[in-house]
Symmetry: C2
Amino acid sequence: MALDKEDTSERVVAIARRLLEEGGAQNLKARTIAQEAGIAVGSIYNMFGDLNGLHLAVNMRLLSELGERGAAAMASLAQKQTADTRERLLGLALAYHAYVQEYPGAWAALLAYNRGRVHASETAPYVDRLDGLFQIIADVLSEGEPYLSKEDAGHVARTLWSSVHGIVTSGYAAHSGERKAEEIWRQVDLLVTTFLEGLRHRKGALTDMGRNA
Amino acid sequence: MALDKEDTSERVVAIARRLLEEGGAQNLKARTIAQEAGIAVGSIYNMFGDLNGLHLAVNMRLLSELGERGAAAMASLAQKQTADTRERLLGLALAYHAYVQEYPGAWAALLAYNRGRVHASETAPYVDRLDGLFQIIADVLSEGEPYLSKEDAGHVARTLWSSVHGIVTSGYAAHSGERKAEEIWRQVDLLVTTFLEGLRHRKGALTDMGRNA
């Protein structure tokens, strides 16, 4: 019985995910989901509270998958014995780019969801999972660039993530299609390589300047 | 009579903009707009083709305003005789941040619209306007960092815009509210300052490496 309940909840999340991928949050309709899952509309609310709760459940799934992709990228780099910070950061960025290209609709819906939230308490586990992703990047930085304090590594990790994210999702590229993906990747490469070069030159000045805005 | 038509179209765009600001693209309903503007639903389609056309008209307005803000920031920097590239780039980033904070809903809808477009031909004037914004940044770079080729200045301008955009719109900050805005700004400062430092050290290597992805 408990297993059945889990099965149903899994199925509902999978349907919701597909709907989000196809048409964003406005495509998430309780009636459609209930019909497809062969359950009553009320069951959805019993399981997830409301449609936001269901959307959050999908987002948790997406963040988990992205975390797994990040871990897989790190494992593959370790196998090649790549200790170079630039290559490791580009490997992680590539994993992110690939994931967003694979699920553009669901990922855009996650970003829109993120923007819409007001109460932090509601999304605490969500933020925790996001923090776990930043930590992968922070660890790469701490290992390869030992002059960074722990706090600075975290700050740099967030900044790099947000920047790569901006390049990958906005895609302000001069070309479209195949060449667009190529240009996005050129931007990511320019960003990571140049930023890292600057970081190594700034070193000591970092802590002061980062707070000097 | 021609003037009346322009007035009506202005009014429709203003209503659409408010609706987009309040609830995104799914809030853009022809019936609501027609009712508020006191015109027939058909008139909206006559003027803008469809709701996408109307959304595009709002986006053109937003990009124009953003261009004006950028020009105003540049004028204010010129008055202070600021020739420093970092300060000028941060001035432009600040103008962008302020604009997005002022119209978060309409700007998020513009980004979502951007993601959804397939046919480049449809959005050519839109892309032109976006290019105009990149050009402001490229000019700052060409003036302050003369070792950059014209092509590299454009490439760097796009990369910086996308990065700052990612930081400002995703807001992956550890804190919320007041402190969140502060941390976003710390990330922008870290990005611009460190990237510029790296750029100055890479110089000649830039053209090769940027294409080596």
